[in-house]
């Protein structure tokens, strides 16, 4: 505990975690602060008890200590008190979890995120399926509006991946055969780094992406610009299609360069 404080330096209020650049991330951050303080208090209490026992009761003589075996009152106390503490903590967990996983019914920008070995595809169904693809040699960027609700539909083409943006205090698995959805309410514009967290094979370490949060106006103009430049190569394709049928083609490539070609080829066939 003490070491953790020293190591995290002067960011004591954050205890090493990011304050969160999304509304959801800020909720998680507050829970983290609460848990850290609770953990610190309990941890230091037990730590001091152990240290006290170690230093106070060093063997100084051959005198036989009292052979105490039970103390019912203490035993009941340290059973009941932790139960109460845990239940109180659970209430906070429950409330925060519901806030973070809540799906809003307001207007939102949808992004279909597809993970594959070893890159990402970001597709915007509301903007003629504008698409951004990148692999480990060429990091893709997801452009989204700040200050609006962004709905992510997350899935994978091959193995399980993890969609993780540290500064959002959030991660979620991208899985084959299952689509996860969640909302991000990014509060500040900026570029945030993201990375695959769930081990997914050879080049897992290099499966990076970034999120660029811009003003809603800038987002609109970016999307329209992309629409016009991509319109020639894109035909219509629903957000939930273009999946399982072509999986086998994007699997297991021997070299770093191969996934790029195989996936691009697959995308073309799929559409």
């Amino acid at each position: 505990m003490v070491t953790a404080l020293v190591l995290t330096g002067c960011q004591v209020p954050g205890f090493g975690a990011f304050p969160g650049k999304t509304a959801q991330g800020q909720d998680a951050f507050k829970l983290w602060q609460g848990f850290f303080i609770a953990g610190l208090v309990i941890g230091v209490f037990v730590f001091v008890l152990i240290l006290w026992a170690v230093f106070r009761y060093r063997r100084r003589s051959e005198e036989m200590p009292n052979q105490t075996q039970y103390h019912t009152l203490f035993e009941i106390a340290y059973t009941v008190v932790p139960i109460v503490v845990v239940l109180v903590m659970f209430v906070f967990v429950f409330v925060t979890e519901n806030n973070i996983t809540a799906i809003s019914d307001k207007q939102h920008v949808t992004v279909n995120v597809t993970a594959f070995q070893w890159g990402w595809e970001f597709q915007y169904p509301q903007y003629s399926n504008v698409k951004v693809i990148g692999v480990e040699t060429q990091t893709p960027q997801m452009v989204v509006p700040a200050g609006e609700t962004v709905r992510i539909f997350l899935r994978s083409d091959d193995v399980i991946h993890g969609f993780y943006v540290p500064e959002f205090n959030y991660s979620m698995y991208a899985q084959p055969g299952r689509t996860n959805q969640f909302d991000l309410n990014i509060t500040r514009t900026g570029t945030y780094r993201g990375q695959c967290t769930q081990f997914c094979g050879l080049y897992h370490s290099l499966m990076l992406f970034s999120v660029r949060a811009v003003t809603p106006g800038a987002f609109q103009s970016w999307a329209q610009q992309e629409e016009s430049s991509q319109s020639s190569s894109n035909s219509s394709s629903g957000p939930a299609q273009q999946n399982l049928g072509n999986q086998s083609q994007s699997l297991k490539s021997p070299s770093a360069a191969a996934p790029l070609t195989s996936h691009t080829a697959k995308g073309a066939i799929g559409d």
Binding site: V54, Q67, V86, F199, G201
Partner: protein, 598 residues
């Protein structure tokens, strides 16, 4: 042959070389086989236990070397020491060796095999030949897993959890994956047989007077561990069989590829599910965490009272805490899967948080055991204290991870790596080696060197904090686990370098352990029967014990028969202000010199 009965031990004078050995090898006369043949054919639980410990220690050192190579790779963000493929093989095998082949087998195959029959006053395990089969299956399985390094395509490289569909034939085509699965199935059977043996021994072979509530806590914990093994390991073995069928027999239990093939159109919900693997694996995996923890809790509960010269505080609370941990551990597996988005039920969070309660009870009981005692800091005690600090830190961060909102941003980062290493290092290493230092004199009749032991402890203890505390920090900064490279310029490097330095300190400590073994072998300091003035039955017989363990037993009137026998004068002290329950030892006060023949 043995004059142990007539000689009450006076206090703890550890290094007095008391020789009872009259020169003949106990047991061999009646058993015949000696030398290498003894090790190959024996069904004696002590021989098998030592074989288990030697094999699991070899696995521990091998896995440690793999960890050192990984730490060297991470010294630099773009190090080219090993290839990404080699790195993936290294962390897969490091985890597999440490969890499947060291921590479990060392505890329930090694220490428990040796100690449990002695602690309950039994001549051997309930099924000695099954016990031998367990060991040979374990050895064969271990060699099979290690063979992965020598097949084309290299060893398994999908992590020790082998998540589907990364572990499928398409994504992991090599034979390394197959030998990993075969080896795991073999060691799984070995564990199941050992679980049966432990339960059978503890239920049926207890000596007269050894009631359930007089069993040492170590034996209690091994009973519960045995039951957990019977709950968890068959699930793993079955899951692996299905994975193998997916890989070789064309089934589609864990992959969605087959959905398309069977129905002709992409209908993800119609057939196989990668999530099923995770559910099955963690239904094994979370009880497994406690299979790897309870034996070590038991060791600490043996060591702390002996070196505090007090009985276990809250013995019955300890037993019920163990039982509730076991019960809760079967209902928390989905906390490994919060970020799948599929099992995000508050139930799993609540149960995970609740496990902190019985664990907390254990902590307070351990502190209560030391409270107002006479603490003597021999090496086993030092390692037990190291366990307390390590497990405290690992436990507190574990409570944090039980909260899904916190788990979301720490899952699969180095925060989790630091957490489970603090838990598992705390149990399997600190408590495990506390057990080794504690029982080594019983097993080999000679002491380990105290000075080397203390150096071993301090190097390991300081190295431990230096290795894992920076990993919490770098995890919160966003560094994922299982990466061979990481971006430079994010300030992650310094934490990784601190970690690497710490890892090498630990390695140095464990080099000293090897030296300690050599010293004890070359220049033996004889241990005598009971060098620690310990409490439990195993310290009543000779060191090492004769072939069938006991020629005589002391009266068993409490959970500390050897102590009662050696301290008839201390019985009066038992009736302290709060020594109420169970009336331990009262009946023994007038009969402490009586003998029970077996």
């Amino acid at each position: 042959m043995t004059e142990v009965i007539s000689r009450p031990l006076s206090g703890g004078a550890p290094e007095v070389p008391v020789v009872h050995d009259d020169g003949t090898d106990h047991g061999h006369a009646e058993h015949g086989a000696t030398g290498i043949l003894k090790w190959l054919t024996s069904t004696d639980h002590k021989v098998i236990g030592v074989s288990y410990m030697i094999t699991s220690l070899v696995m521990f050192y091998l896995a440690g070397i793999m960890a050192l190579i990984m730490r060297l790779q991470l010294w630099d963000p773009h190090s080219s020491l090993v290839t990404p493929q080699a790195f993936n093989e290294l962390f897969t095998m490091h985890g597999s060796l440490m969890l499947y082949l060291f921590a479990g087998p060392f505890a329930f195959g090694g220490l428990a095999n040796y100690i449990v029959p002695l602690q309950v006053g039994a001549p051997d395990m309930a099924f000695p030949r099954l016990n031998a089969l367990s060991y040979w299956l374990y050895l064969t399985g271990s060699i099979t897993i290690l063979m992965g390094f020598f097949v084309a395509g290299g060893a398994a490289s999908f992590g020790w959890v082998a998540y589907a569909p990364l572990s499928s034939a398409v994504n992991s085509p090599g034979a390394g994956a197959d030998v990993w699965m075969m080896g795991l199935a073999l060691t799984g059977f070995s564990a199941i047989f050992t679980g049966v043996n432990l339960c059978g021994t503890i239920f049926y072979l207890r000596a007269p007077g050894m009631t359930m509530f007089r069993m040492p806590i170590f034996t209690w914990n091994m009973l519960v561990t045995g039951i957990l093994i019977l709950i968890a390991f068959p699930v793993l073995t079955a899951a692996i069989v299905m994975l193998f069928a997916d890989r070789h027999f064309g089934t589609h239990i864990y992959d969605v590829l087959g959905c398309h093939l069977i129905s002709g159109r992409p209908t993800p919900n119609a057939c196989g599910s990668p999530l099923l693997w995770q559910n099955l694996f963690w239904f094994f995996g979370h009880p497994e965490v406690y299979i790897l923890a309870l034996p070590f809790f038991g060791i600490v509960t043996e060591v702390l009272p002996v070196f505090s010269r007090k009985p276990v505080f809250g013995y019955k609370g300890m037993v019920f805490a163990t039982l509730s941990i076991a019960a809760l551990s079967t209902g928390v597996w989905a906390h490994h899967m919060f970020t799948t988005g599929a099992v995000l039920l508050p139930f799993f969070s609540l149960l995970s948080l609740l496990i902190a309660v019985p664990t907390g009870i254990k902590f307070f009981n351990w502190i209560g055991t030391m409270w107002r005692g006479q603490l003597l800091f021999r090496t086993p005690m030092m390692f037990s204290l190291g366990f307390l600090f390590a497990f405290l830190m690992g436990g507190v961060t574990g409570v944090m991870l039980a909260a899904p909102p916190i788990d979301f941003f720490t899952h699969d980062t180095y925060f989790v790596v630091a957490h489970f290493h603090q838990v598992l290092f705390g149990t399997a290493v600190f408590a495990g080696f506390a057990g080794l230092y504690y029982w080594y004199p019983k097993m080999f009749g000679r002491m380990l060197n105290e000075k080397l032991g203390h150096w071993h402890f301090w190097l390991t203890f300081i190295g431990f904090w230096l290795t894992f505390m920076p990993q919490y920090v770098v995890g919160l900064k966003g560094m994922p686990r299982r990466v061979a490279y990481y971006p430079s310029g994010l300030g992650w490097q310094i934490y990784n370098q601190l970690s690497t330095i710490g890892a090498f300190m630990i390695a140095l400590g464990f080099l000293l352990l090897l030296i300690n073994f050599v010293v004890s072998w070359r220049n033996p300091v004889l241990a005598g029967d009971n060098p620690w003035d310990a409490h439990t039955l195993e310290w009543f017989t000779t060191s090492p014990p004769p072939h069938h363990n006991y020629t005589h037993l002391p009266p068993i009137r409490s959970e500390r028969p050897t102590w009662d026998y050696n301290h008839p004068d201390a019985l009066a002290l038992k009736h302290g202000p709060h020594a109420t329950a169970s009336g331990n030892g009262r009946n023994g006060s007038d009969g402490s010199k009586e003998k029970v023949s077996v």
